[in-house]
């Protein structure tokens, strides 16, 4: 496969990974808001739900956990994009940029560990 064709295919994968991530998170966020329409500026944050709490609450279709799930999916969308590009470059033999992707992924893992780890 030529480099151009591979590049086009990779661009399509990135396009779809971003689009699907935004659409799924948008649907989950909307579902959460519909489940709990009383949410608003009067809410005050302070404690972040853990991932198990988010998943358990979302499985019971509770509003706040559903919204948190949507927000986590939204935050994960750019990470999926890095994974798609890193894997794509690796299998096309573009090891340099696969390594660059790995470094960016490592930085994001540090951020996740600092934030919700």
């Amino acid at each position: 496969m030529s480099a151009t064709k591979h590049g086009d295919r990779l661009a399509r994968w990135v396009h779809w990974s971003l689009l699907i991530g935004v659409l799924i998170s948008g649907v989950v966020l909307a579902a959460g808001l519909l489940r709990d329409p009383t949410l608003g500026p009067q809410e005050r944050s302070g404690t972040a739900l853990s991932i198990p709490e988010v998943l358990q609450g979302a499985s019971r279709q509770e509003g706040v956990p559903l919204i948190n799930l949507g927000l986590l999916l939204l935050m994960a969308t750019p990470i999926l994009r890095i994974a798609v590009l890193g894997v794509g470059w690796f299998f096309s033999g573009d090891i340099h940029f696969a390594m660059v992707s790995a470094v960016v992924m490592l930085l994001l893992i540090v951020s996740i560990a600092l934030g919700i780890g």
């Binding site: 990779l10 661009a11 399509r12 990135v14 396009h15 779809w16 971003l18 689009l19 991530g21 935004v22 998170s25 948008g26 966020l29 909307a30 959460g32 808001l33 709990d36 329409p37 949410l39 608003g40 500026p41 809410e43 005050r44 944050s45 302070g46 404690t47 972040a48 509003g63 706040v64 919204i67 948190n68 949507g70 927000l71 986590l72 939204l74 935050m75 994960a76 969308t77 750019p78 990470i79 994009r81 890095i82 590009l85 340099h96 940029f97 660059v100 992707s101 470094v103 960016v104 930085l107 994001l108 540090v110 951020s111 996740i112 600092l114 934030g115 919700i116 780890g117």
Partner: protein, 282 residues
Amino acid sequence: MIWIAIAGVITGILGAVLGVGGGMFLIPVLVFGLHIPMHNAVATSILAVIATSSAVASTNVERGTANMRLGMTLEIATTAGAIGGGLLAGMLSSNMLETVFAAVLIPTIFFMWRGRGEQDPDQHPANVADSRDMGALGGTYIDEPTGNRIVYRVRRLWAGMGISLFAGGLSGLLGTGGGAFHVPGLHLACGVPVKAAAATSNFMIGVTAAASAFLYYGRGQVIPGVTAAAVLGVLVGSAIGSFTNRSLHSQSVRKLFAVLLAILAAYMFYHVWSEGGYNVSH
């Protein structure tokens, strides 16, 4: 809740029409209009930036204007900067964060008023004739209005890394996209054509914002309902904005937005320094 969604829609439209992230507009509206504490407003803006960046970047990647190799390389700097900015924001008071935000608005107003050079005839200083000469980080795309194939080479990567570190730091600290600095920086310092610089900056900012979003989320500074309404509003606004004709009105809208930002910056300075300003601690 409806006002938050409306603010999100306007932010999304501005982002699509002006080609900038809407955090500069969304944050003052949330803080002054809806009395949401500064740190929570920044967290909301960061999530909105991820949504717009992901939606817009998906299109730019398909068109080929976003340079994925350059973007991924510069993301090393933007994500490091965003983590630093996000950690620093956790140490600053709301007053201090507002002051920094208002100070950053000033150069943004300048860039907004001046424009980013889309109309300049010499917007491709680094063009090379042959795609074999564009190097590992260079790129090529079809310029839609003219149909010309634009080929460019990236110069002074170190400068691009420095600009990206700064833009990432601002994004993590203030919840803005940083495009107002990043796009002219990539164009002037690295020779990337404005359209490619804007698309690449947008491509990068989702990852940059995600790097600090986890920090805000972990500190419990994301207000779920507010953020969800803002994100959904921004997505709808982006879709509406993409149907508007940028070439007809972007100059006048940009100048109007610059004036609005100047008023907001003046009000923020006044607010912080008058009678103690907000006493909301994060």
